[in-house]
Symmetry: C2
Subunit: 185 residues, 2 copies
């Protein structure tokens, strides 16, 4: 079940470096794009950065709307995650093509992708130089959500192998998140 995550804990949803799906929407258009280059840059209030390349339809929608959602998919979704990074949403509705169902977000227009393990609703902090020079978007995390079977009391657990997060290497080869290991206190 999707439950709200306190904003001070939002960074934990991507701190282990999962590959994400970025959803965006503007007017009557929407899109979903695979993005491995997403990370936290601040804890509380939480901020992230994401690389959104200049030649993508997602870039057009994010620049127009100032919003996007970072969705954290699982191994169960691996084929859609890889495929969503191959085609452009300008030519096809990738949600339909890959049978990706969505639910409305609460604070932004971009949708939440059903079946993911976590979601960050983001609002762009305008930084024209970073965007133009490095394709790098800074965003405030406005709301955060997690599947309460996978993220419990602020810590990730992965109930089955299919619930693990995906970490892209290249060309459709991913590392799944593995065992929890703890350092000596």
């Amino acid at each position: 079940m999707r439950v709200s995550v306190p904003l001070r804990r939002a960074y934990k949803l991507i701190n282990h470096g999962p590959t994400t799906l970025i959803t965006s929407a503007h007017g009557d258009r929407r899109n979903v794009m695979t993005a491995a280059w997403v990370m936290a840059v601040d804890f509380d209030p939480p901020k992230i950065v994401a690389v959104i390349a200049a030649d993508t339809f997602t870039r057009t929608l994010v620049e127009a709307s100032g919003e996007f959602v970072v969705n954290v998919p699982t191994v169960r979704m691996i084929d859609a995650v890889f495929a969503a990074g191959q085609a452009s949403g300008e030519d096809e509705d990738k949600f339909s093509v890959h049978a990706l169902a969505t639910s409305p977000a609460t604070l932004v227009g971009a949708p939440l992708l059903d079946g993911c393990a976590a979601w960050l609703e983001c609002r762009v902090v305008p930084e024209p130089h970073m965007q133009e020079r490095y394709d790098l978007f800074v965003a405030d995390v406005a709301a955060a959500w997690a599947d309460d079977a996978s993220f419990v009391d602020g810590v990730w657990r992965f109930p089955t192998d299919q619930d693990r997060t995906l970490h892209h290497l290249s060309s459709g080869v991913f590392v799944a998140s593995g065992d929890i290991v703890k350092a000596k206190p």
Copy 2:
């Protein structure tokens, strides 16, 4: 054995989101700091970004030298990885305290940490606004290295559980890198 990685493949060494150790040096001082917020932002020539907080000794050394090394540690090093994120190198030599042996890098003054799985020798691209506003450092990857038991023909493999990479959640709890999973072509 540490072998050279072609620069066009350097991004693959951190694309799956491992927590890293950043080494730095200036004059007769050196330091090592745990850093989970490091990611690629360009392929070829490879560029990365890293968050280096304003109140750290690493920040002082990186600003003075314009250089650092991103080291990718393994589960075998978990206690040192966690501990290196807790104390400041201004007060103690963390290499000595945690028995971290080093080797010279080739193009930068910061050392390579022995026992890691990969290394990126980095030169800072001056971006004062990003550094001051977000503690975010852009860097060119000048040289890249990997342990040839763990990174073979441009793909990660983890020969034993102790050779897996670490992905920090919080408070010394990490996810180890898990199985390789492949999407349909």
